[in-house]
């Protein structure tokens, strides 16, 4: 089974600071990491390979430094990595990004499955996975919480929806986006790290993937960021603070009355 895992390098977001003027993130001094949700896709791919054999190729588009994301994926257990890096790719939106990734996948050639994380923690759109499938014209299933069975030409999965779970099946090749519930990603091992250092990563540009120039980068992206604003949260709380036990009953009654008015209870 040949599996392709498109991943993204994102800024480590636990201590992110925003520029109050521009509304954008201050990237300086922020460590780049593999999108945490992509780790679940990598893990899912490794488990399928451990079960049925095959090959896993990690794929990423980004600046040259994004090769670190690929070596981490290889250290976890992917076999190979391809970096899509070129100035012409820069500034791409989800439409252009999924186009570039799909062109690269076409160049890779035959594959059985594409596994993506649910979304990236920086852009937060969740559009690139389905976008790739659309460009490739293959079936896709999103929010997959369990890969149940992989048969010769079919895959059965469980999808998490608000009301419960759905069981879905699709023909191979297809694309899945997976959610956190799908597995528990492993840590890279020393063996994996040493192996990843030895793997020679390929870097592809627009010509290598036979891309249409006007589909690339900021210019090729239909999305326009017109304005970034920070929403004002205006919540008014109600605090019931009884001073002694005597006031407790009145306070609780008041609180219940309040919740009733708001039609919460």
């Amino acid at each position: 089974m040949k599996i392709i895992v498109p991943i993204k390098q994102v800024p480590e977001t636990s201590n992110v600071k925003m520029d109050p003027e521009t509304g954008t993130m201050i990237r300086e001094g922020v460590e780049p990491i593999v999108n945490p949700l992509d780790l679940y896709a990598i893990e899912a791919a490794i488990r399928l390979k451990e079960h049925a054999g095959g090959e896993i190729i990690a794929l990423t588009m980004g600046p040259p430094s994004a090769r670190k994301a690929l070596t981490e994926a290889i250290a976890m257990g992917c076999d190979d990595g391809i970096l899509l890096s070129n100035k012409k790719f820069a500034g791409a939106d989800t439409w252009s990004t999924s186009y570039v990734l799909s062109q690269a996948i076409k160049k890779i050639g035959r594959y059985d499955l594409i596994l993506c994380g649910e979304r990236a923690t920086d852009g937060d759109t969740g559009q690139v996975g389905p976008g790739i499938a659309a460009w490739l014209d293959i079936p896709f299933m999103t929010y997959i919480s369990k890969i149940m069975e992989v048969a010769e030409n079919e895959i059965r999965c469980e999808r998490m929806v608000e009301t419960g779970y759905e069981i879905l099946a699709a023909e191979l090749p297809c694309l899945l986006t997976v959610v956190k519930e799908v597995n528990f990603p492993r840590l890279p091992t020393l063996r994996g790290k040493l192996r990843s250092r030895a793997v020679e990563l390929q870097t592809w540009g627009p010509v290598d993937i036979d891309a249409q120039p006007d589909f690339l980068g900021l210019k090729g992206s239909p999305t326009r960021v017109v304005k970034i604003t920070k929403p004002q949260v205006a919540r008014r709380g109600k605090i019931a603070a009884p001073k002694d036990e005597g006031e407790l009953v009145t306070a609780v009654d008041g609180l219940i009355e309040f919740l009733k008015q708001k039609e919460i209870v």
Binding site: E12, V34, A75, L187, L190
Partner: protein, 474 residues
Amino acid sequence: MNSSGYNRVDSRIVEMLKKIVGSRFVLWNEPDKMEPYSHDEVADKRYMQMPEVVVKPRTTQEVAQIMRLASRKNIPVTPRGAGSGLSGGAVPVYGGILLSVERMSTILEIDKANMVAVLEPGVITNDLNLLLAEEGLFFAGYPMSVESCFIGGNVAENAGGGRAVKYGVTGRYIIGLEVVTPEGEIIQLGGKRVKDVVGYDLIHLMVGSEGTLGIFTKIFIKLLPLPSKRVDLLVLFKDIASAVALVPKIIAFGKIIPTAVEFMDKTAVELACRYLNEQLYSQEVGAMLLIELDGNDEAGLEREYEIIGKMCEENGAIEVYVADNATTQERVWAVRRNVPEGIQTFYPVKSSEDLVVPIASLPEILPQITAIAAKHDVIIPCFGHAGDGNIHTTIVKKPEMSMDRWHEVQETVRVALYQMVLARGGTISGEHGIGHKRKKYIPMVLDPVTIELMKRIKQAFDPHHILNPGKMFE
């Protein structure tokens, strides 16, 4: 006057305290709000004591006025930082005034030219390091309760923590203190200078004095350039012996000084992983080491972790994981940091010990700890800072044991553990301190002459014995 010989805090005293700090910053007759000041992180409720009044001064002058008032009125004062201590040091054993430094929380100065920061005692150590990181600097003292503890408490307890192997403990970085004496005088010790041999080294007498000699109102700490790269190895071993035997070898044969070598035995790993819902644990795991390296040269670090990783594999490691980015590092350190929470969740009745031995003795004491646990029918998860020989043995009550029996047994076990480490050139506390939890064991460790000298020092600083009484010595 009460049985201890101290005067009670009455409404007149409270009024005077309110005049000093403002009425908003005095808590009196408000048991709900005062309860958090009655204990630290020692789990055993027998070590709790409510203060009579809680005072929250903002300035050095206010602290001095409070001490003068307390001296005059013969009322005990217990200074308190964040209350994350593990020996009862901040517990007001005789009631009286609880002096919290929580409002003295300003980072007064970061002097890059001298590589010194000047802090008030209520600064959260983690906040300081976050701020310093932006400047490419850091404070190398690193206690495990890093997100909550105050620098004042770190100095008072001479906190150690994970990085002592390479960077030593808090005291190494303290180069100046402003101190309010128990009698309410303000003194300045040291400052921004690196060298100073004039007179006795009172700074390092103050460091680790557990709030019994003076109250720190300003702290001068030495800063270091923050290493830009960090790698952690999480190593799984099938048994304790092979894990611990490796620790002294890393430095001796690997010729590498890691920042930290943390150790967790099977029970500690299992409980932390259960608590975190972390799947790194499996039945075959008998112990874990967490080894951290830092530096500025990525290739150099890669070589070093490869050397150590291979040493681990040759010494019976089941698996060596490499964490070299924020995601994976947070994950491996979360396991180590949450061992105490894991134990607390599944075995709430326990006593945390803080044994320390010379590091080459670690391999021989761990089987003895296991034997002591078996003999007395308790569980003793062990974890801690293997790299500096500091092991947090936690004596844990099995659920089926009665409380009466437990009180008896934990005492016996504690003494047995203490005798074991003392016989090997170790001691009973590496970083948690004595407080009132361990004071009765001091004679096991120190000879009578030393104890007498220490008591005379206390007498010289605090002639009326009003500052944090009931700590350190019986």
